[in-house]
């Protein structure tokens, strides 16, 4: 089956094309012939191997290179040749003077005589005479020795592969190897690339004119690329892009605000720094109540101006309620201490006190604080969601109805209500909701009707329905996070990984 050639990367096509012409090539040769870097070729070959278009074979190849004496012999001739040439030139001179004129190295002369006479039969010795002086050249001096023939190979190249040598040349190399410092034998590992059958048919389809040399290194996208004339690898992994995003909590807050607005609620806001008066006293938390202790609440250095805390009437009314319910006299010096609000309810209460609405639906989503150590399940700074509704005939059933509808809009269908206790509401309920994704009932928002001790000092006459709870628990459920600290870790990887739409 023919490979679908258009899915190949230009680099891959180039390699295939070259292999089609040469059958098998090494990485280095491919790099040279293709104008691609070694790395580009390696990666291209790996991809082609993965696509079963090429085979990669690891071989060891033997090379020869001339050593010092070999290099000089290439210029001047081998010692035995120089010897016989000198004798031929001046046959009358004795060996000794010839040797002198040719400046043989000490160990060379003997070897030269032996090779010229015994191996190459260039010199003949008179019979019965063993003296060196009586050597005369033979006709064989016209023939090149095996060594000489193989030496010619190195005239133009630095190294010669063993596979390129003829038998005679191989013999010459063997002889040279026996002589010191003439040739070096080098063994190297090489990677050879050959085409598979599929590869061969794929290579045959490539029209090289489409891919002129050097084309692959360009960085600009050419017009042909855009029109799809030049095919690209549609499987290839691409660079990851990170778009700008809002924080996951921002998205959940926006969703919750939209639910409130859709139910006719209006958003209110207020300061994070509150006086103890509004954070505690006005909400009927007695001055000796444990919640006011240092280990639950963050107190700030400095005090609020006593006159600016609240109206005189509000202060008097609140102090009366406290004095009626505590053995300790209410003390304004406890009330003007500054705290980081422990709930958003002081904002709500002040809004109701200032506006005295006969009927109202308001909400807030704001940061609140507890002086606690941050753990897997607790933060010292988190968001409170709070909803408030008031009208002359507001009832506990209305509160349950608002709560049920709020949950329904969040995608929570099953809700149970249980009685509970909160310091500033009576009656008080807690809600249990069924979370489908984890198949569990969880306690979520608390709710109730403001106590008279809270409402009456602010001249609020109608029942005030209130409910609220933490935002982060909802976020954990929504995002599948089990350590609450993750939400504020600002780990970029996490922020990038959270999807906008939870499927």
């Amino acid at each position: 089956m023919a490979y679908k050639i258009t899915a190949l990367h230009p680099i891959e096509k180039r390699i295939l094309y070259l292999l089609g012409k040469n059958d098998s090539l090494t990485i280095e040769v491919l790099s040279m012939k293709s104008d691609l870097s070694i790395d580009q070729v390696r990666r291209g070959v790996e991809r082609l191997k993965f696509k079963k278009l090429v085979l990669i074979t690891q071989d060891s190849i033997v090379f020869f290179e001339l050593d010092d004496r070999g290099k000089s012999a290439l210029l001047k001739g081998l010692p035995e040749r120089r010897l016989v040439s000198a004798i031929q030139l001046e046959p009358a001179k004795g060996i000794a003077s010839v040797a002198k004129s040719q400046a043989f190295e000490k160990d060379e002369l003997g070897a030269a005589i032996r090779i010229a006479r015994d191996q190459n039969h260039w010199l003949l010795q008179a019979s019965g005479d063993s003296k060196r002086a009586n050597l005369s050249p033979s006709h064989s001096i016209l023939e090149l020795s095996a060594e000489e023939q193989v030496m010619e190979r190195f005239r133009n190249v630095k190294r010669v592969s063993e596979t390129e040598l003829s038998d005679l040349e191989k013999k010459g190399i063997d002889l040279l190897l026996r002589r010191p410092n003439y040739v070096k034998r080098i063994q190297e590992q090489t990677v050879t690339i050959t085409l598979t059958t599929t590869g061969r048919s794929a290579a045959a389809e490539i029209d090289v004119l489409e891919y002129p040399r050097g084309e692959f290194i360009r960085s600009e996208v050419s017009a042909e690329d855009r029109t799809g004339t030049i095919a690209i690898d549609l499987h290839a992994a691409v660079k990851v892009a990170y778009p700008g995003k809002t924080h996951p909590l921002t998205d959940l807050i926006a969703e919750i605000k939209e639910i409130f607005v859709s139910m006719g609620f209006t958003e209110i806001e207020g300061n994070i720094i509150q006086t103890s008066f509004w954070n505690f006293d006005a909400l009927f938390t007695l001055q000796d109540h444990p919640a006011r202790e240092m280990h639950d609440t963050y107190y700030l250095s400095g005090l609020a101006n006593v006159e600016e805390i609240a109206t005189k009437e509000q202060i008097t009314n609140v102090s009366k309620v406290h004095n009626k319910n505590s053995i300790n006299a209410w003390d304004i010096r406890e009330s003007n201490r500054l705290v980081l609000r422990t709930h958003t309810t002081p904002i709500t209460l002040k809004y109701l006190a200032d506006n005295q609405p006969d009927e109202a639906k308001i909400f807030s989503v704001g940061t609140v604080f507890r002086n606690e150590k941050v753990t897997k399940g607790h933060l010292s700074e988190f968001f409170q969601i709070e909803g408030i509704a008031t009208k002359p005939d507001a009832s506990i059933r209305d509160l349950m109805g608002l709560q049920t509808e709020f949950y329904r809009k969040l995608g929570i269908q099953k809700v149970k209500f249980w009685p509970t206790f909160f310091p500033y509401t009576e009656p008080s309920l807690q809600s249990m909701v069924y979370i489908k994704s984890i198949d569990k009932w969880l306690e979520l928002f608390g709710m109730g009707i403001f106590r008279d001790e809270v409402a009456l000092p602010m001249k609020i006459r109608n029942p005030v329905l209130a409910w609220g709870g933490g935002l982060e628990r909802l976020a954990m459920l929504r995002l599948g996070v089990d350590d609450i600290r993750t939400l504020y870790s600002n780990r970029i990887e996490w922020l990038r990984s959270v999807s906008k739409c939870q499927l």
Binding site: N371, E381, D398, F421, I449, R451
Partner: protein
């Protein structure tokens, strides 16, 4: 919230005609949370306004009402024995003025009962007694008490063998050298006189609120129990006495009054006289959203263990047992009716939207600003308002100016102690915590910052930071310019300015909009980057959003 352990056998014995699961399933409907259970016990969490749930006796009593097995006001018969007298000296008035006491006898004690009573005492000490500050409870072996007792203030020389000790110690020694003494001595304040309860032989029975004598220790061989409560608040002392009396009575002990005699009068303790509240049927129905007839409301109140009495037309009077001081007003009564009725009987009403809702203008504007910033390719981050002064100042090469920022007086975590007065340090810190993530890291944060001594101490700020190998003044200014143009249609200019510390010299400027400075822009200095171990260049700006929030209009 406090937790009480209830053996499952208690529930099976108390409700023979109900299945255990039915009993357990009804716990939440009387306001109790199931914290955990195994095959022997169930752990039940109760709310601090119901101290009588500190033993399973109180829980069973409420459940019997809710399940309709035993309804209405519980009746308690308290016996008299003139021997059980306590003389109160006026000398205790400035230190711990009130004492209440009761006697229970004629029942075998077992280990279980002793443990339950001690657990209950512990829970009450932690809760309603506010760690013994408001009141403290002593439980004694009645057999070892020689009446009449006297409650008086003594010098610190008086000595006795306290619980968990083998030798007699003076009050002084107890306060200075025993663990319990050191833990609670602060409750007595600076005084030379200490409250003690002495028996007829002038032996110390107890030294409230610190420790009892070992002589009168309650054990499983005791034939009777003497309970004393000393307090700074008489209502709490009375409440605890009533809780013990009702609990021990329901366990089938015979309960006796004690007679408390001071210079002016003599009273009997425990006081079990109930109180009463009248409420209009219409008001109860209005709050509940119901139209129930009087009889049904009375039945519901009875299931919450309240007595009911006919009163004027359209009204219902309820009798509240002495051990419940959380039912004081009409609204409390409404909650009792709601519980007795069963919350599952109250169906939620479908809300009708008859008023319109809006998001606040700030919330709308900030939402739009975020849209612009996201469009500029920025990732939002959220840091905490509370930071360390090291991060806010030192790590940014800045000096903290006293009085210009808010300090937290009592942070649990050292260093976690000021409110941020700008966002930039936390944003730079975030980049420093993400040096192993890929760049560019282009971030923004919108959040509140706090400046002490200004007319508006809380303001909204925006901070943008770019971190990658080519982040520089030009790239951040280009974002700044686009932000102002797209968000507000305003042109922004920058006036060279050198800021100490956070920005590099010659690479920072003031941000000017319509001639007013609204923030700073620049390349973060090498020193600051090094202190946050950041190796890439960082360029940032921070602006005060309040002028834009104040002039933002949502209407035409």
């Amino acid at each position: 919230m406090p937790v009480v352990e209830v053996p499952l056998t208690v529930l099976t014995k108390s409700f023979p005609e109900k299945s255990i699961e039915e009993v357990i399933a009804s716990l939440p409907f009387v306001g109790l949370d199931i914290e955990g259970r195994n095959d022997k016990i169930i752990r039940i969490e109760y709310n601090p306004n119901r101290p009588e749930f500190s033993s399973y006796i109180g829980i069973v009593r409420a459940l019997k009402g809710y399940l309709g097995i035993e309804t209405g006001l519980p009746k308690y018969k308290i016996n008299n024995d003139k021997n059980f007298r306590i003389k109160i000296s006026s000398s205790v008035r400035p230190i711990r003025p009130y004492i209440r006491a009761l006697v229970a006898k004629d029942l075998e004690f077992g280990n279980d009962i002793v443990k339950m009573l001690i657990d209950m005492q512990e829970d009450l000490h932690m809760g309603i007694c506010n760690k013994r500050k408001v009141a403290s409870i002593g439980l004694h072996n009645l057999d070892r008490i020689r009446f009449p007792l006297s409650y008086l203030a003594s010098s610190s020389d008086i000595s006795f063998v306290p619980l968990d000790s083998s030798q007699a110690l003076s009050i002084k020694e107890i306060l200075n050298s025993t663990n319990i003494g050191k833990k609670y001595s602060h409750l007595l304040g600076k005084t030379n006189e200490f409250p003690v309860l002495l028996d007829a032989a002038q032996e110390v029975v107890s030294f409230p609120p610190i420790v009892n004598s070992i002589n009168t220790r309650l054990d499983n061989r005791s034939k009777g129990i003497f309970v004393e409560i000393t307090a700074v608040d008489p209502t709490v002392a009375d409440l605890i006495a009533a809780i013990y009396a009702s609990t021990l009575y329901d366990m089938n002990f015979k309960i006796y009054h004690t007679t408390l005699i001071d210079a002016k009068r003599s009273i009997k303790s425990p006081d079990m006289s109930p109180s009463s509240i009248s409420a209009s049927i219409a008001e109860i129905n209005r709050y509940l959203g119901t139209t129930l007839p009087r009889k049904e409301i009375a039945n519901a109140a009875a299931r919450s263990r309240l007595g009911t009495r006919n009163s004027a037309r359209g009204k219902l009077t309820c009798i509240v047992p002495r051990y419940r001081n959380d039912v004081r007003q009409v609204r409390d009564l409404i909650e009792e009716v709601m519980i007795g009725l069963g919350i599952s009987k109250l169906s939620p009403t479908v809300p009708i939207v008859n008023v319109t809702g809006n998001r606040s203008p700030n919330s709308v504007l900030i939402g739009k600003i975020k849209e612009v910033l996201v469009g500029l390719g920025l990732q939002e981050i959220r840091n905490f308002v509370i930071v360390s002064s090291f991060l806010q100042f030192d790590s940014m090469g800045l000096k903290a100016k006293d009085g210009s920022f808010f300090k937290i007086e009592n942070s649990l975590v050292s260093g976690h102690d000021i409110l941020r007065n700008s966002l930039l340090p936390s944003v730079v810190d975030t980049i420093g915590h993400n040096i192993h993530s890929s760049y560019p890291q282009n971030l923004f944060e919108i959040g509140k910052v706090f400046t002490k001594g200004e007319a508006e101490p809380e303001k909204w700020n925006l901070c943008v930071a770019l971190a990658y190998n080519r982040a520089d003044y030009t790239s951040i200014k280009s974002i700044l310019q686009a932000y102002f143009k797209v968000a507000f249609g305003r042109d922004v200019t920058t006036t060279p300015n050198s800021y100490d510390g956070e920005y590099a010299d010659g690479r920072s400027a003031s941000i000017m909009v319509e001639g007013k400075e609204v923030g700073k822009i620049g390349e973060i200095s090498d020193l600051v980057r090094q202190s946050h171990r950041i190796r890439v260049p960082v360029a940032a700006f921070e602006i005060d959003l309040s002028p834009f929030l104040n002039s933002f209009r949502t209407s035409m």
